[in-house]
Symmetry: C2
Subunit: 341 residues, 2 copies
C-alpha cells in the first residue's frame, strides 16, 4: 500500500471502512501529528492517571464555516473551545479526545493542515489529544470536516464555580474586547475585508483562569461568551442564579474595527461570538484584586469591570448606554450568525 498522497489526495469512503485505509489515515496523519504515548498504544481508548480532585468533562462539536480564517481554523478552534469549557469550571484541563466526521472528496492537504493546527494548539496548551475516532460520509452529506472535541480536567481543592452562584452586589468582569471572532468570520464569509484588521481571538484561556482562581478563589463563576456573545451568556447566568444584572456600556471593551464592522453589518457586538474571552463574576470586595490579576496576564490586559449583579426576580440584564439611557439586553431571539464555531 503506497503512502497517503497528502498533496493531491482526497478523503475517500474507504478511509472510514475500519480496514487498512482507515488504519493508514490514522497512522500517517492523526497519530503522526498528535504523537504521544497514549495514541502510540493504538487502543480504542486512552488510560491515564488524574491528579486528585473533582473531575470536569466538557464536549463541543465544531462546524465552523469557512474552515480557515484569520487567527485560526476549525482545528485550533476545536482545541481552544473545549479547553475553555473545561477551564471555566476553574479546572486544569488535562486530556482531549477528538472525533472527526469527514466528507468524501475533502482534500487531504486541507485535512493535514487542520490536524497540524490542532496538534500545535494542543502542544502549546499542554493538553494532549489522547484518543479519537474518524468517520467518512458521502459527498454532499457533510461539509468538509466537523470536529467534536471532549476534554477532561481536574478542579483544584476548594473551588466550586458554577453559573448559579452569582449574588446581588457581585461584580461582572470581562477579560478583553468582545466580538472579534464573530465579526472576523462574518466579514470573511461575506467578502467584506474587515477581517484584515481584526482576526479571531481564538485562544486557550486556562493559564489566565489558573492565575485568577489562585489569587481569588472566591470567584463565583466563569463562562466564555461564545455563540450568542456576551448578551446571551449573561442572560444564561442571570437565569441560572435567579438574579438581574446591570451593565455599563462605556466600560465594555470593543475594538474600533469591530465596532465599525458591526455598524456596517447591522450587528450588536453584545451578541457576537468570542472564542478567547471570559466573563468572571466575583464578590465586590475581590473585584479590584481580580482585575489586577487579569491585567497582569497577557490574556487579560484589556480586562474590565463591566457591571454589577442586582436583585431581580425577572432576571433581566440591563445596560446603561453611553448616552445615559437604560436598555434591556434581552436574549438573542433571531439567528445572528450561523456556524460561527
Amino acid at each position: 500500500m503506497s503512502r497517503l498522497d497528502l498533496k493531491r489526495g482526497t478523503v475517500e469512503m474507504i478511509h472510514g471502512s475500519g480496514g487498512r485505509a482507515s488504519a493508514q489515515l490514522v497512522a500517517e496523519l492523526f497519530a503522526r501529528a498528535f504523537r504521544n504515548e497514549w495514541l502510540d498504544q493504538g487502543n480504542d481508548q486512552a488510560q491515564f492517571d488524574l491528579p486528585p480532585g473533582r473531575v470536569v468533562m466538557a464536549t463541543d462539536s465544531h462546524v465552523i464555516s469557512p474552515l480557515f480564517f484569520p487567527g485560526g481554523d476549525i482545528g485550533s478552534l476545536a482545541v481552544h473551545g473545549t479547553i475553555n469549557d473545561v477551564a471555566m469550571a476553574g479546572a486544569r484541563p488535562c486530556y482531549l479526545a477528538a472525533g472527526f466526521v469527514l466528507e468524501e472528496g475533502f482534500p487531504l492537504a486541507d485535512l493535514a493542515r487542520i490536524v497540524e493546527s490542532m496538534a500545535a494548539a494542543a502542544r502549546e496548551a499542554g493538553v494532549p489529544i489522547v484518543t479519537g475516532d474518524t468517520k467518512v460520509v458521502e459527498r454532499g452529506k457533510g461539509d468538509g470536516v466537523f470536529i467534536t472535541t471532549t476534554g477532561v480536567g481536574v478542579v483544584p481543592e476548594g473551588l466550586r464555580l458554577s453559573g448559579d452562584q452569582a449574588r446581588p452586589g457581585d461584580r461582572i468582569l470581562v477579560s478583553g474586547s468582545i466580538g472579534d471572532h464573530g465579526v472576523t468570520i462574518l466579514s470573511l464569509r461575506e467578502g467584506l475585508g474587515f477581517e484584515a484588521d481584526i482576526g479571531s481571538d481564538s485562544q486557550a484561556l486556562h493559564g489566565l483562569v489558573a492565575a485568577m482562581v489562585e489569587a481569588v478563589p472566591q470567584i463565583r463563576c466563569l463562562r466564555d461568551p461564545t455563540r450568542g456573545g456576551l448578551g446571551n451568556t449573561l442572560n444564561e447566568l442571570a437565569q441560572q442564579s435567579r438574579v438581574g444584572m446591570q451593565l455599563d456600556e462605556r466600560t465594555i471593551p470593543v475594538r474600533e474595527a469591530v465596532r465599525a464592522a458591526c455598524e456596517f453589518l447591522g450587528l450588536d457586538p453584545l451578541y457576537v461570538a468570542n472564542e478567547g474571552k471570559l466573563i468572571a463574576i466575583c464578590p465586590a470586595e475581590h473585584a479590584e484584586q481580580l482585575l489586577a490579576v487579569m491585567h497582569a496576564h497577557p490574556q487579560g490586559r484589556e480586562a474590565a469591570i463591566v457591571g454589577t449583579v442586582v436583585e431581580d426576580p425577572q432576571c433581566f440584564v440591563q445596560m446603561q448606554t453611553q448616552f445615559g439611557g437604560n436598555r434591556m439586553v434581552d436574549w438573542l431571539n433571531g439567528e445572528q450568525l450561523p456556524r460561527i464555531c
Copy 2:
C-alpha cells in the same frame, strides 16, 4: 415563546444560534430526556467525582445510515458504542458526553425519538449523559444527525489490558455470533428483507466485562470488533502485539440467517461489523474458566474459543477452514460497508 412542536416541527438554523431557541431545544428536548443532576446545573461542563484508579477515556463519532434499524438507532448505538470502548480497557464506564450535529430540516419528532432512545440506553446501562453540545448545519451540509459520544470510566486496581499484551499460546475468545449488526444495516439499506430475521446486536457490554475481569484478571486484552469486523480487529491486535493468530473456522459462531445473507450479498462475515460482541485474549490456562464465566452471563451464552495466538514475525492471522484448508485472514482492503456505525 411557544413550546417546541415535537410532532410537526423541524430543526432550524436558529436552534444552533446559542440564543433562546438553542436554550429551548436543550431544555425541552435534551435536558428533559437525559435529566440528571449534572445537566440540571446548566453549565457548559459537568463536574463529578471518580472512584480511585486509572481513568479511561474513549470517543466515537456516529454517522450510521439509516438512522433507525431493527435492534436500535443512532442514539442507542452512540451510547453502546462508547460504553463498549471504555469497557474494553476492563473499566467501569461512569459518565458520557454527547455532541450533536443536526441538519436543518430534520424532523424534531425523529430527533426526539433518537434522544429518548439514547436516554433509555444510558439509563439501562447506568451511565448518565452529563454534558453535551448541539450544532446545526444547513440543509445538504449534513445528513439528519451525527452524534459523537465520549465516555470516561475507571479501571479496577491491578488490571492493565491492552492490545499489545497478547502472547504466543494465548487463547482467543469471542462473546457470541458475529456479523449481525452489519448484515442488518446492509439488508435494510438494500431493501433485501433479511433484517426481519436478524437485527443489530447493539448492546452495552460493560456488565459482561465486569464479570470477566473479576473472575480472570489475567485477561490480556479485550476489543469489540466493530467496523472491519472480527477479521480486521484480530489483525490490529496481532500487529500491536507482534504475534500471529491461528483461528478455527468451525468454532466461530455465525447465525444461520447471517450466513445466508452474507452468501447472498457476497460478504465474508469475518469482516462484517458487530456492535455488541467482544474479543478476549487470555492465557491458555485461564481460557476454560473465562469461557465458563462468559457462558454464565446473558451476553456471553454463545461465547466460544475460536483460536490461538502463535509466534509469527509477520503478524499473520490465519484460519483453518471448515474443509480443513488454511487461509489467510488479511486486513480488509476494500470498502465493505460504508456508514455502518
